[in-house]
């Protein structure tokens, strides 16, 4: 292709090298060397992406269709009817995603140096983090569904390892298992989708599937709907959408930088990325696309309401992440993929910032995560406070911060999307108000008022943690200034054009003002309840105990799953599979075979008397029998041969 471009495989290979070095030798290397390797891996990967981006924009004008740059470093599977290679594709979509993954990833690596400095598993932590970057870049660069699936499973593995990083804590180990198992449910759907794709198209390459679809423009619905629904199941598992979102709040058991990188900025957006990547399939399956929109809108509202009643600072952010991912799904569902990716990028900035700032707060409080014990941290943690303020105003959607542009774009796209779009837009609007409410609640509870515990001595975090906060705050402010028009025309070759067209000229402005007013309303409510009349929330909770308990207990979804799915599964595993299948059937067969062997052994054992002369007698008898057979054998063989001939009719 273009000689000035770097080889694409540098991008995943460098973090993998970091993983190997720190994973194998990390315990023997000095801490400074571990840090250097751990930071060099994402930094060099980021620089490789920048180099590729430079070469990419250098080769203007850009070709209009996939693939922009397709390299195939290694053949993988070559069978009749199935041909899959390790193909990497760099186009506008994967370039944006790579910049986010490696850029935000590098910042979070820097932050981790300060956050994890005293941890005994320092090298292990960074090797896992590098492993995650390796799989995530593989997922993003993958040029076919199967390679994407490899990256997909790989990030799941890295997520499992990092959630359970403090595995001595039983809750962390359980949360890791829960994340892994819930993701398996979604991945099962993804895998079925892959098989259906292979059966339908005979290929797994994105570009070949796209060109085959382009060759038959009338082909919609049917098997395409089935494929898209299967892929949606995978995306809903990875991106924590209804009904598979339950793993993400528990995933907060991992170290906070991990929550920022994996469970906010990058991995959980893989589902959105996958839908955008396979948008040519979803465009032909209106039913599946509608399902995506409904799932997204429902998740956005549902998670936002739960976020209102949580007291753990990280859990509030976790439900906020689920809610924002719902926004992205909503945008995908109205075929506004560029708006979804736009929100993905700004969300990566401000949500990583929120988590890192929350991590800074937790660090300052000596590990305390309960907001009811915080308060008044504004003076003690000035950098954390100001960066957190930027993030809170960004997520609430105030002008001119990043999420203002992206949320506005996707709500507008929903509004102009047919009749159902108005409803989706309204849900999004209500969610925007709730978002502002729970974020300002967090802000007030953490930074205002008086410190509500005596045994904490807050102190500002080290520079390695403050610097990423400041960079991410700047990105959260400026990240949206590119504007949706320029962004979607940039992404158009990858995901198609933004379909938003309206006959009413000032519609977008009106919708924008409405959204900001709703966010302002959320702020005012939070201001009233959590700054001016701090006793009101408790009174309200006492006045409506049933509703409050419903929210505080997260709609009892975990309890419902436990009673209706997990317990019956355990029952089936223990009694049907464990006792009947394993113990009775499989164990019975094994016991029977062993019994036969034992019995025949006991009989044959009598032969082995140890008496030399009895052996000799048997030997002689055998020789005599052989001799007899040689002499008289034909008398026994001949009649049977005659019988055979008789049967054959000769």
């Amino acid at each position: 292709m273009n000689g000035t471009l770097f080889h694409l495989w540098y991008i995943p290979a460098l973090p993998f090298a970091g993983f190997l070095i720190n994973g194998i030798l990390g315990r023997r290397l000095s801490r400074a060397l571990v840090t250097t390797i751990a930071l060099l891996a994402p930094l060099s990967s980021f620089l490789a992406v920048i180099g590729n981006a430079y070469g990419f924009f250098g080769s203007m004008p850009m070709p209009a269709s996939l693939p922009i740059l397709e390299t195939c470093p290694l053949p993988w599977i070559a069978l009749p009817g199935l041909h899959v290679d390790f193909t990497f594709v760099l186009d506008q979509l994967s370039l944006v995603m790579l910049l986010v993954v490696t850029g935000v990833g590098f910042l979070i690596h820097v932050y981790s140096v300060g956050y994890m400095h005293g941890d005994p598993g320092y090298a292990r932590y960074f090797s896992y983090l590098n492993l995650f970057l390796f799989f995530m870049t593989t997922l993003v660069l993958a040029g076919n569904v199967l390679l994407m699936f490899v990256g997909w499973e790989g990030v799941g593995l890295a997520s499992y390892l990092l959630i359970g990083f403090w595995f001595q804590k039983p809750s962390a180990a359980a949360a890791g298992k829960k994340a892994f198992i819930v993701n398996r449910i979604g991945d099962f759907g993804f895998l079925i989708g892959v098989f259906l794709l292979l059966a339908t198209f005979g290929t797994l390459s994105f570009s070949e599937i796209a060109s085959k679809l382009a060759a038959s423009p009338m082909w919609t619905g049917g098997v395409l709907t089935a494929i898209c629904l299967c892929l949606l199941a995978g995306a809903a598992g990875k991106s924590a959408q209804l009904p598979l979102y339950v793993w993400l709040p528990d995933a907060m058991e991992g170290p906070t930088p991990v929550s920022a990188l994996i469970h906010a900025a990058t991995m959980v957006t893989a589902g959105v990325y996958m839908i955008a990547r396979t948008h040519f399939l979803f465009d032909r399956a209106p039913l599946a696309l509608g399902t995506v929109a409904i799932v997204g809108a429902a998740t956005a509202l549902f998670a936002a309401t739960i976020g209102l009643a949580q007291n753990d600072i990280k859990r509030v952010l976790a439900y906020s992440t689920i809610s924002q991912l719902g926004y992205m799904f909503l945008a995908c569902g109205v075929a506004a993929y560029s708006a979804a990716i736009f929100h993905l990028v700004t969300h990566a900035f401000f949500k990583a910032l929120l988590f890192l700032a929350a991590g800074s707060v937790i660090h300052a409080m000596g590990g305390e995560q309960d907001m009811r014990k915080m308060g008044g941290l504004r003076k003690k943690l000035p950098v954390t406070f100001w960066t957190m303020t930027v993030a809170v105003f960004t997520i609430a959607g105030f002008w001119p911060l990043a999420a203002f542009y992206s949320k506005d774009a996707l709500l507008y796209a929903a509004f102009v999307h047919g009749a159902g779009g108005k409803f989706l837009w309204f849900v999004g609007l209500v969610t925007a108000m709730l978002t502002a409410l729970y974020m300002f609640r967090l802000w007030y509870m953490t930074f205002f008022g008086e410190l509500r515990t005596a045994d904490a001595h807050p102190h500002e975090s080290p520079w390695s943690m403050r610097a990423p906060l400041i960079v991410l705050a700047l990105l959260s402010i400026c990240g949206g200034w590119i504007g949706i028009e320029r962004f979607s025309s940039y992404l158009a070759p990858s995901v198609g054009l933004h379909p938003a067209v309206s006959s009413f000229p000032h519609l977008e402005l009106i919708l924008t003002i409405l959204a900001v007013l709703f966010a302002l309303e959320g702020w005012l409510i939070a201001d009233k309840y959590y700054r001016r009349k701090t006793e009101r929330p408790a009174q309200l909770a006492a006045a409506m105990p049933a509703e409050y308990k419903l929210l505080a207990n997260k709609y009892y979804v975990d309890e419902f799953y436990d009673a209706r799915l997990v317990k019956p599964l355990f029952w089936v595993s223990q009694y049907v599979l464990g006792w009947v299948v394993d113990f009775a059937i499989l164990g019975g067969i094994a016991w029977l075979l062993a019994g036969i062997a034992n019995l025949s052994g006991a009989i044959l054992q009598r032969w082995q008397s140890g008496n030399l002369r009895s052996y000799a007698a048997w030997l002689t008898l055998g020789a005599a029998a052989l001799l007899l057979f040689v002499l008289l054998g034909h008398h026994f063989v001949e009649p049977s041969r005659m019988m055979v001939n008789l049967v054959r009719g000769r």
Partner: protein
């Protein structure tokens, strides 16, 4: 050499060989002394040797005689090893009765 050619037919040699072999088998089976058993084995081997030589002479084929040399060589090696084992057994167990040497029992 004419007496062999004319007076003693092949059958007699084979009969003698069979008788010697059977004596060896019977001795092998009924004798209790390990050395006697060993000698019975030698008797069987030599009975076979006799039939080999007789056939070789009858068919003017030298292969049978070569085979006999091989058998004698193997028998010599076997005698050396076997007698060493017998001495070792006698030293440790102070008996040569095969009925009492039954350590191979399970």
């Amino acid at each position: 050499m004419s007496f062999m050619q004319h007076d003693v037919p092949l059958t007699w040699y084979l009969l003698l060989s069979a008788v010697l072999f059977s004596l060896g088998v019977v001795g092998f089976l009924i004798k209790r002394n390990l050395i006697t058993v060993f000698m019975s084995i030698e008797l069987m081997l030599n009975a076979v040797n006799l039939s080999f030589v007789a056939f070789a002479y009858q068919w003017h084929a030298v292969k049978g005689q070569i085979f006999v040399f091989f058998v004698m060589m193997v028998a010599a090696a076997e005698a050396a090893v076997g007698l060493a084992i017998i001495i070792a057994v006698f030293r440790t167990r102070a008996t040569l009765s095969v009925d009492r040497i039954d350590l191979m029992k399970l």
